[in-house]
Amino acid sequence: MDQLLVVLVDGINYAAWLFLSAVGLTLIYGVMKIVNVAHGSFYSLGAYVSATVVGLWFRYGFDPYLSYLALFIAALLAGFVVGPPIERFLLRYQYDKDEVVILLITYGLFLILEDVIKLIWGVDPYFVSEPYELLGNFEFASMTYPSYYILMVVLALLVGLTLMFVLKKTQFGRMLISVIHDREISSAMGINVGKIFILTFGAGCSLAALAGAFTAPTISVTPGLGVEVIVLSFAVVVTGGLGSMAGVALASIIMGLVRAFCIHFAPELELFVIFSVMALVLSFRPRGLFSLAESRKI
């Protein structure tokens, strides 16, 4: 019983991380039909920015509890500073190309950004566990668990609910949904599609950076961080149905729980299980769990 509880808590924790890492990818795909491989680089970018910010924050002795806010703002800034120029000056001119070709361009961007990060931050690992240690542990039933992970779960919920709210209740969200359904008609109706795209791309990149920033205190920040994250995010997003917010949430929960279960009962299957879930889901639902209907070209 106790072990099942641990599995459940681990699973939820991992699901929160998966959701945070993947949600930006699905947002960008949903609106812009871009499978953004560079997403992984924004995750590493967030992690490195967070390493620098936290390092400085604690060296100058600012209020340790405000470091979370600093992390949050730094990640959003990082995404919004680097992301939009890429959309504005490179991707904007490629929208008439095939989805797969745009994917390859973002793959090129991914390779470039990986090395740019190495050039800026070097190849030595960074350790910034202060925000993680600050919160200590909590006792739950008969187990002890780091409180920091609650923060991750809360953050994931916050991000998810905010996105839902923006999409469903605000004017910007409604414009976004109309752009998703028909780019051309929306622009004929007076929506500035270019602006929507640049904002969406910035938001998607910021979300990746946010995930990286809040993961950084729990890991050692090393080069090649994004390489693992991007494929995991792909797995989650495709399983959920590309472009579907609810799909990402459900897929993260399924994969989080399955992985936690595997780690506890069959650790040798850990790496293998997530992609097996993805392959299994795609075999029965070729476009993922929540997929939008698509018209065929005749």
Binding site: V100, L104, G108, D115, L269, S276
Partner: protein, 312 residues
């Protein structure tokens, strides 16, 4: 857009390399051998690209080929190179045939990502299997060529010859295939799948066929790479390996069966020079090259050759 290559042309291209090979420095022999192995995988990806598909999982078959060779020579102490290549091709082909039933139904992004999932499954399995050395992999003993164990100074040359012969056979076969009715269907599928089906061509069967062929080619490439390097590890199935193959294919272009090999050679040169001079920026170079080729030279380096011809 497809250039014909004849047997004569092929021999003309390969002969100088073959003759020069005993005098090449060891690193160059190694680089060319690896380029031949990568080019074989690229040749398969070229078939996909002709049908408008991109596979992010060709590393799966590359790795299956390498591990088939590795396992047989390591555990059964059987190391006749030609048989090893055949068995690797067979193993990859059988797996591709089985998975092909599923993948042949997928298009665009989903084809790419599902094949990615399968290669990552293999990576996950190999990285956790301690009997096979986990993430460290294991070494492959020296191989014999028709019972002859080459002395150490001739090892690289003999592997290069084997690679050349394998590549030659594959080139002739694929060159015939892309000009056959089945091969011409690929471009038709890319342009408009539904109309292709109206004409009576089966998109699913065609894609299944090239999926198996690409799998066999990648398996051969993996086996050659494994023998040339003398070591195999699970990163051969990791998605970044697939990414390199895609780079090679895009760089070369899809205009000719020789294009992927041109791409692989250029990649080999960039890799050897850039990686040894500045290991932290070589991805930057690869990434920018990829974007430049896609934006400025969408038909790849090979398209330059036809441009020169027109000028004449």
């Amino acid at each position: 857009m497809t250039q014909q290559i004849s047997l004569k042309k092929l021999t003309l291209l390969a002969l100088p390399l073959l003759v020069a090979s005993p005098w090449m420095p060891q690193w160059m022999l190694f680089m060319v051998t690896i380029a031949m192995a990568n080019g074989l995988v690229g040749l398969g990806l070229m078939l996909f690209l002709r049908a408008g598909l991109v596979s992010f999982g060709q590393a799966l078959y590359f790795c299956v080929g390498a591990y088939t060779t590795g396992l047989i020579s390591h555990f059964f102490k059987f190391n006749e190179v030609l048989i090893l290549l055949l068995l690797s091709a067979l193993a990859s082909g059988v797996l591709a045939f089985a998975l092909g039933f599923l993948l042949a139904k997928y298009r665009a992004i989903f084809f790419g990502l599902l094949s990615l999932a399968f290669s990552m499954i293999l990576y996950g399995l190999l990285a956790k299997s301690e009997a096979l050395g986990s993430t460290d992999g294991f070494n492959i003993p020296a191989v014999t060529l028709l019972g002859w164990l080459p002395p150490s100074d001739l090892v690289r040359v003999s592997i290069l010859w084997v690679a050349f012969i394998t590549v030659g056979i594959c080139l002739i076969f694929i060159n015939g295939l892309i000009r056959s009715p089945r091969g011409l269907l690929l471009t038709a599928i890319r342009d408009n799948e539904i109309r292709t089906e109206y004409m009576g061509g089966s998109a699913r069967k065609t894609i299944h066929l090239i999926y198996v062929i690409a799998g066999v080619l990648a398996g051969l490439g993996g086996a050659i790479a494994a023998i040339a390097v003398g070591h195999i590890d699970p990163t051969m199935a990791f998605w970044t390996t697939s990414g390199e193959f895609i780079f090679i294919t895009i760089l070369g272009g899809i205009g000719s069966v020789l294009a992927p090999f041109l791409g692989a050679l250029v990649f080999g040169v960039i890799h050897t020079l850039a990686f040894s001079n500045s290991p932290n920026t070589w991805q930057l170079l690869i990434g920018s090259t990829l974007i430049f080729v896609i934006l400025l030279l969408p038909d790849g380096l090979w398209s330059l050759t036809s441009k020169f011809k027109r000028v004449k």
